[in-house]
């Protein structure tokens, strides 16, 4: 029991998790010291984003602009023996693999894989049979000590032994009969396993919860809507029923600042999704960035990206944390490129905005921004029975694939979808149910990698993919490195760009389009770049050695 290590654990952790503190750090055990805001150790990828900041920036410089031409595939792991998932076709790896003590842990819906990081050989596999829920995606696992945490489509929260893949326990955390489903990679903060949920087919409340890593018991729950009329935020809803069916799902991993002791999470779209007539008002805290205390689940501040959303613009995209000097003063900041087409930079201590600006076209659904920097929706641009066109493509200006921030360039990078779409209203009743409408179209389509200046929100550079449709376009998430590189998917390849100017420096063909967020770490002195594309995971090293 080293006191230094204990100091990094909250008192609560000591009370409920002495096991971790006394464990010798044997094989495949995650040292909690590796979970940091910035500067995670090079020999581990301990959480979905690599560190707590969500920057997806690695300081490793072994692979850099000078030797990038030598980068080659070292091994491939192809998923075999699993049929196409119910209703959703071929298998697609969307998860970012954790790498701990030479083992990679990654997922697809219903399945967890442990693979030797040196060879790509399977160590174990955990197979689950779901009884409902959406099999749309699975972002990966969380790890605490030697335990792995996995969420299934139908809302089971399962703890596995990282050495064997054997199940320790399972807890039900979401009700698939109400159309909840779970796809996210749990985020471990001190002795809290933080879990979000998805599901907006049947108008239910979003929530985020924290569970005990040893027992799986609930520690706290935060609801995306105020609980009752009269509570703060309830003034943005017409009545209790609208709040109770308001949506606001929490389906992507958030970020955490240990010093401020706040987690930052994005909340999903409001329900009913396209039909807003039964829920007049801004509808807090849906479509927002919220800062919560991880020990209590209490709200510290919020910023609403898409007030009274009627376009399915889940605001769950990563709230990326970074520090920077502004006007000579050190600032703790948070940036998000949102699905509604706005780029936000906020002070993460209080939610006050520095930048609020469209990053693709004009975001013609908004009339401007309010005094807090929140867009003001134009009621005339809500879905219409005969269609209403916005200059955001169906699916949003960006989506779940992770963005990146490089402290080297001080730029924020996001893969964007540019174009126009039309939103329709189908359910014209005063109390709509379900989606109540829909959106279609990607008119004048463009797929681009955009580098944004975090001080101004200006586009520093943009790479618009030449290929479109089936043959091209940007894909997957983004990783930046100390080697001056930016890795992302472009037209069925993994490509490396110069992070300063967007020039393509290198690419390698993959068997399908890159489908996850790239990650990197060093093992046996070798820097590896790890990407998933369809049903295959790739490890790349210099000269493939």
């Amino acid at each position: 029991m080293k006191l230094t290590r204990l100091r990094s654990l909250a008192l609560a952790a000591l009370l409920s998790a002495p096991a971790l503190a006394v464990q010798s750090l044997a094989a495949q055990t995650l040292d909690p010291k590796t979970l940091t805001l910035f500067h995670q150790p090079a020999d581990v990828w301990p959480t979905y984003h690599g560190d707590y900041s969500g920057r997806r920036f690695s300081e490793i410089t072994q692979i850099n602009q000078k030797n990038i031409a030598q980068l080659k595939t070292k091994w491939k792991y192809k998923i075999t023996g699993i049929p196409p998932l119910r209703g959703s076709g071929p298998l697609v790896i969307k998860s970012t693999p954790l790498m701990v003590d030479g083992v990679l842990y990654f997922t697809i819906p219903d399945h967890v894989f442990a693979v030797d990081a040196r060879t790509g050989k399977e160590k174990w596999r955990f197979d689950f049979e779901d009884h409902g829920g959406h099999v749309l995606g699975q972002r990966g696992v969380g790890m605490y000590g030697k335990w792995i945490y996995f969420l299934t489509p139908d809302g089971w929260f399962i703890s596995l032994d990282s050495a064997t893949g054997k199940e320790r326990w399972r807890k039900k955390v979401a009700d698939e009969k109400l159309q909840y489903f779970t796809t996210m990679a749990a985020v471990i903060v001190k002795n809290h396993v933080i879990i979000g949920i998805g599901g907006d087919a049947m108008d239910v409340r979003g929530y985020l919860e924290s569970r005990d890593p040893e027992t799986g018991e609930l520690q706290w729950q935060w609801w995306a809507e105020p609980l009752k009329m009269g509570d703060p935020g309830s003034e943005t809803w017409p009545n209790q029923a609208a709040m109770d069916h308001g949506g606001g799902m929490t389906w992507l991993p958030g970020t955490y600042d240990p010093e401020l002791n706040l987690i930052y999470w994005g909340t999903g779209n409001t329900n009913p999704v396209f039909a807003g007539q039964g829920r007049k008002g801004a509808n807090l805290y849906t479509d927002s960035i919220v800062a919560l205390n991880p020990d209590t689940g209490k709200l510290a501040w919020y910023f609403q990206a898409s007030p009274h959303d009627t376009h399915d613009w889940d605001n769950v995209e990563t709230p990326v944390l970074f520090d920077m000097e502004i006007d000579g003063k050190p600032r703790k900041l948070l940036a998000q490129a949102a699905r509604c087409g706005y780029f936000f930079v906020l002070d993460r201590t209080n939610g006050k905005y520095l930048v609020s600006k469209p990053f693709t076209k004009t975001a013609n659904w908004a009339k401007g921004i309010d005094e807090r920097g929140q867009p003001i929706p134009d009621p005339g641009k809500e879905p219409h029975v005969d269609g209403s066109m916005v200059d955001i493509a169906t699916g949003g200006a960006t989506n779940w694939p992770p963005p990146s921030y490089s402290p080297q360039t001080q730029l924020f990078y996001v893969n964007a979808s540019e174009g126009y779409s039309v939103a329709y209203l189908y359910d014209t009743s005063s109390d709509p149910q379900g989606y109540g409408g829909g959106s279609s179209g990607w008119f004048d389509p463009a797929s681009s990698l955009i580098a944004l200046d975090v001080k101004t929100g200006d586009v520093k550079w943009k790479h618009t993919a030449k290929g479109l449709g089936g043959e091209g376009g940007m894909s997957g998430g983004i990783l930046t490195t100390g080697g001056g590189l930016l890795f992302t998917g472009d037209s069925r390849r993994l490509a490396a760009f110069d992070s300063a100017n967007g020039k393509i420096l290198w690419s390698e063909k993959l068997d399908s389009s890159m489908s996850n967020g790239p990650s990197t770490w060093v093992l046996d002195g070798k820097q590896n770049v790890i990407v998933g594309a369809g049903d295959t995971l790739y490890a790349l090293t210099l000269d493939g050695k």
Partner: protein, 285 residues
Amino acid sequence: MSKTPAILLSAASLLCATIVSLGVHAKPVSAHMQEPNLQRDTQAPSTNRSHVFLGLGREPDAAAAKRGGPLYKQNCSACHGESARGGIGPNLVRSVLVLHDDSDEEISRVIEKGRAGTSMPPFPSLSATDRRDIAEYLHWEIEQAANRGLYKNADTMSSGDAEKGKSFFAANCANCHSTTGDLAHIATKYPQPAAMLARIAWPTSRMAPRQATVTTPDGQKLTGTLAHYDDFETTLKAGDGKTTTWATDTVNVDISDKLAGHRALLPKYSDDDLHNLTRYLLTLK
């Protein structure tokens, strides 16, 4: 770009989706899921597939629901609303009890016995079959709301003005299009307003082959169809059927932009313009 799996899909994310926009079919739209689905899917949309994809469980018994509808209206709608969306009594489409009751036993029990402590009275005269039919009707209503694959755009347009559309056309479209030439009888091809509107906005539902002139590193110019074009490789199919591939960064590719007019109009349209124009083109039967 999320759709029912039947719908859209793309290689790795909306960022490069091949758009099979349902907006231009009789049955839209985008069951927008929470995220883009990644794989391309060429199968036609089927309501059953979206039901399966959404994990909606057992499908309602359509015949029973059809019998249950009138029974519901007669016995239940006074309190629970015309289509079970609630009134003085609770909304049954969002009822946790109903959503969970796969076997119809709970719903049947509540209908038969009523609920103590609430205004829900017992209905002893309804037979077990009647009660089950009503339960299936409720499950059918839930299916209508929750299964986005069943959603349909309207077959008629309620707004817009054909005369205004005609003048808009004359001012903005007549340079390239003619209502007696290329657009004659266009309304027979796109009778549904949403399909027509999508066609007006961006008249290509998938990447049609693009004509291009490639200037090679030694200054040679070749014209043909782009068989493949991305940031890395360019493949041109010349008139004689011969294909050549170059590294994209070694050639200059000049693509003729047939959609420049449409591209320029997109930021300018008001929704009224689009509705008027749609209304007008729908008269070209």
